[in-house]
Amino acid sequence: MGVNRSDFLRTALGATAGLSVAATATPWRSEAEESIGNYPAGTTGPEIFVGLMCPLTGSYSADGEDLRKGYMLAIEDLNNGTGVMAKIPSLAGKKGLLGKKVTYKVADTETKPDTAVQRATEFITQNKAIMFAGGVSSAEDIAMQKLAQQQKVLYMVGASGSNDTTGKDCQRYGFRSQLDAYMVAACLSPVLVKAYGKNRKAIYLTPDYSYGHSLTNSMREFTEKLGWTTVADVVAPFPTSDYSSYLTNISNSNADVFINIEFGNDGIASTKQAVQFGITKKMKLVIPNISTYLPDGLGPDIMEGVYGTQDWYYTMADRYPLSKLFLESFQKKFPGVVPRWTAHIAYDQTAIWADAVARGKSFNPVTVIKTLEEGKAIELCLGKVFYRSGDHQQVRPCPVLVGKKQSAMKNKDDFFDVVEIVPGDKVMQPLGETNCKMPAYT
C-alpha cells in the first residue's frame, strides 16, 4: 500500500561547525571548477545532502530496512568521526566530509523502479543531493543509475545482482559493490559440483526481470561447463505470491537440483511452497543469492544444507578486523539487531564515496568518479576492495555459504557456515564480455 509515504528527515548527530577546514573545497583538477549536476550548487552551505533510496514496502522491504540502518550508521560515523570511518586514512581524525556535515533523507522506493526514479528526482532537484544511494532490486537500481547519468549526480548502487548493472546498462555515474551474477555463479558452481557431483540435472525458478535472467544465465553457463545439464528454466512474473502453477512444472520434472533464483518475500513464498510440493525431498535446493532475511522466513529446517552466496555475513567478523568493528558499532546503535548484508553494502558504499571525496578533495562528481576509477584499493569490511574502471564493478571477495543444522546454530542469527571465500580477481567477468559501453563524464 502507500502511495505517499513520508520521508524521515534525520539530521545526523554531532558535526562540529568549528572545524578549521576551509568551507569550500580546494580544487585540484581543472574540472572541479566547472559546474556539473548539483555541483557546486549543493555544496555551498555548511551541509551537504545525500538521498537514500530504500524499499521499505513491497517484496524486498526487509532488505530495504536493513539497508536503511546501514546508511544511518555510516552517516553518523562519518559526521562523528567514529567506527569504521575513523579507520580510513583519508577520513581519520575528521568529522563530516571536507568540513561539511552530511544530512540525508530516506525515501521509500516501494520496490518499484518508477517510484524509485520519482523519489530520487525529488532529492536531486529539491534537495540538491550531491550523491544518492540505495535500491534493492536491479530493476530499481538500473533505472536510478540511468537517472544519475542523465542528471550528472553520483549514484552509489545498493543491492543489485544483475550483470546488466555493470554490463549493458553500466553508467559513468554509478558504482556497484555487490557480487554480480557472473561472480556468484563463478564462485558457487565449483562448490556445488564438489558437493553434489558432476552429472546433475538442474531446474531453475526465475523472476522475470533483469536480475533473474542474468543470474539464471550465469548459473547455467558455469554449471553446464562443469558437466551439469539444465532441465528447464521456469520463469515467473515479479512479484508473485502464489507459485503453485510454476512449482507443478518443477515437481513433475526429472531434475535433481532445484535452483531458486527468487529473492526477498518472493524467495520465501516460493521456497515455502516448494517444500509443500515435496520438491525439496526429491531435489537438492540451491539459492545462489540468499536475501537478507530469507533464512528467518524459512527457518533452519528448510535452510539446512542449502548452498548459496551472500554479499557479506556477520560471522566474517572473525576474518576481517573492520567487519568486527562494523558489527560492534552496528549493534551499539541498534541493540539486538545483527546487521545483514544490505546494511554492509550501505556502509561500505558510503565509506568508499566519502574516501574518494576526501582523497580528491572535491564533491565534484567527475573528480570523485576519476578518483574511484584510479582503482586504488581501500581496506573495508571485506578487506581490500576497489572498482574496475572499465565497468565500475567492485573487485571484492565472494563468500559461499551453506545452511547450518538447527542444533549447530549458536544464536538465532547463526544460520550459515562460511564454506569458502573466493578472491574477487579470480571470478571477475572479463571486461570484454560485459557489454559495458561506458558513457561520457559530462
Binding site: 500500500m1 502507500g2 521499505l56 514496502t57 513491497g58 517484496s59 522491504s61 526487509a62 530495504g64 530496512e65 522475470d208 520463469v235 515467473a236 512474473p237 512479484p239 505470491s241 502464489d242 503453485s244 502453477s245 510454476y246 507443478t248 512444472n249 515437481s251 513433475n252 518475500n265 518472493d266 520465501i268 513464498a269 515455502k272 511452497q273 517444500v275 509443500q276 510440493f277 515435496g278 532475511y293 528467518d296 522466513g297 524459512l298 527457518g299 529446517d301
Partner: protein, 288 residues
C-alpha cells in the same frame, strides 16, 4: 504428466481462498454500500494474529481461532470509532477513510513487528503430499480447500438460517425499511463490518503458510478480490464463491501456458462480464 489436472487443482485451491476473502468484502459492500479498502490490511492483521498465536502454542486451530477473534474485535472497534461516522458522507470520503485505514493498519503492524517476513510453517498434520488422480499434491493446499469450504458453509448457515442473518440480508436489500420496522440497523452494521473483518482475518491465517507473512501481504489479494466480486456480482454470497473459483482457475490455467498473461486474462474475463452482465454473474440488477 497430468499438467491440466494439476493446474485445475491449483486453481481450485487459489479460488477457494479468493472466494473466502472476497465474501468478507462483498457482504460489507452489500450492506454498508461502500468498498472497504482496508480489507487486505485486515487479512494481514489476521495472519499476524495467527502467527503470534501459532508460534506460542504450536496449534494451528488455536491460531485460526485467535485470528477470528482478534480481527472480529478490531472490526468492532473500527466500525464504532471510525466507519460509523462515514455512513452519511460522500462516496469518495468513504473510500478515502478505508484506504487511509489500510495504511495505518499496515504501518502499525510494521512498527510492532518490523517489516521482516515471519516464519509460519505448514501445520505438521498437513505438511506432506497426497496423491490425487495420479498427481502428487501438497496436503496443505487440500486443507486450504477444506477449511475454506467449511468456513463458507458456516457463514452460509449464519446468513441464511438464523434471525441475525435474516436481518442482515434484509438490511442489504433495504436498510431504511428494516429500520422503520423497529430493528436496530446500526447494530446490524456493526456486526456485519466485524464479520467481514473476521472473514478477512481467517483467510489471512489460512493463506499464511503459503505466503510470506509481512505487512504488505494484503495488497495483492485486495485487487484480486475486486475482480472476483465484479465477476460474481456485488453483495451476492454465491457470486463471491463462483467468482473466486472462476478467477482461481483462470489464473492457474493461464499461468501454465503463458504466465505473463495470467492477470491480463483475469481482467479480460472481468471486462467480458461487465459488458455482458454488468451486475455480475449472480448479482442482482440495480444494487450498488
Amino acid at each position: 504428466m497430468h499438467l491440466i489436472e494439476a493446474q485445475a487443482l491449483n486453481g481450485l485451491a487459489l479460488g477457494a481462498i479468493l472466494a473466502l476473502v472476497a465474501l468478507g468484502l462483498t457482504i460489507v459492500f452489500g450492506l454498508l454500500g461502500f468498498v472497504n479498502f482496508a480489507h487486505g490490511a485486515l487479512f494481514m492483521v489476521g495472519a499476524y494474529a495467527g502467527w503470534v498465536a501459532y508460534s506460542n502454542t504450536n496449534n494451528f486451530f488455536f491460531a485460526l481461532l485467535a485470528s477470528l477473534i482478534i480481527t472480529f474485535v478490531v472490526g468492532l472497534v473500527i466500525e464504532r470509532v471510525l466507519i460509523r461516522l462515514y455512513y452519511q458522507r460522500p462516496k469518495q470520503d468513504q473510500i478515502l477513510v478505508t484506504y487511509g485505514l489500510a495504511i495505518v493498519l499496515v504501518e502499525i503492524v510494521r512498527a510492532i513487528f518490523t517489516g521482516q517476513t515471519r516464519l509460519l510453517s505448514t501445520p505438521s498434520w498437513a505438511s506432506g503430499v497426497v496423491q490425487i488422480a495420479g498427481i502428487y499434491y501438497p496436503q496443505y493446499r487440500v486443507a486450504v480447500i477444506a477449511i475454506s469450504a467449511i468456513t463458507l458453509a458456516v457463514i452460509y448457515l449464519v446468513l441464511f438460517r438464523t434471525r441475525i442473518g435474516l436481518i442482515v440480508r434484509a438490511g442489504i436489500d433495504d436498510d431504511v425499511i428494516v429500520n422503520i420496522l423497529g430493528i436496530n440497523v446500526n447494530r446490524t452494521f456493526l456486526l456485519v463490518f466485524a464479520l467481514g473483518a473476521a472473514i478477512a482475518g481467517v483467510s489471512g491465517i489460512v493463506d499464511a503458510p503459503l505466503l510470506a507473512v509481512n505487512p504488505d501481504m494484503g495488497t495483492d489479494i485486495l485487487v484480486q478480490c475486486f475482480v472476483v466480486i465484479v465477476i460474481g456480482g456485488v453483495g451476492s454470497f454465491f457470486g463471491a464463491i463462483l467468482g473466486g473459483l472462476i478467477a482461481g482457475e483462470i489464473v492457474s490455467l493461464t499461468t501454465a501456458f503463458a504466465p505473463d498473461y495470467a492477470s491480463v486474462m483475469l481482467y479480460i474475463a472481468m471486462a467480458i462480464v461487465l459488458i455482458w452482465r454488468p451486475q455480475g454473474l449472480l448479482g442482482v440488477e440495480g444494487r450498488a
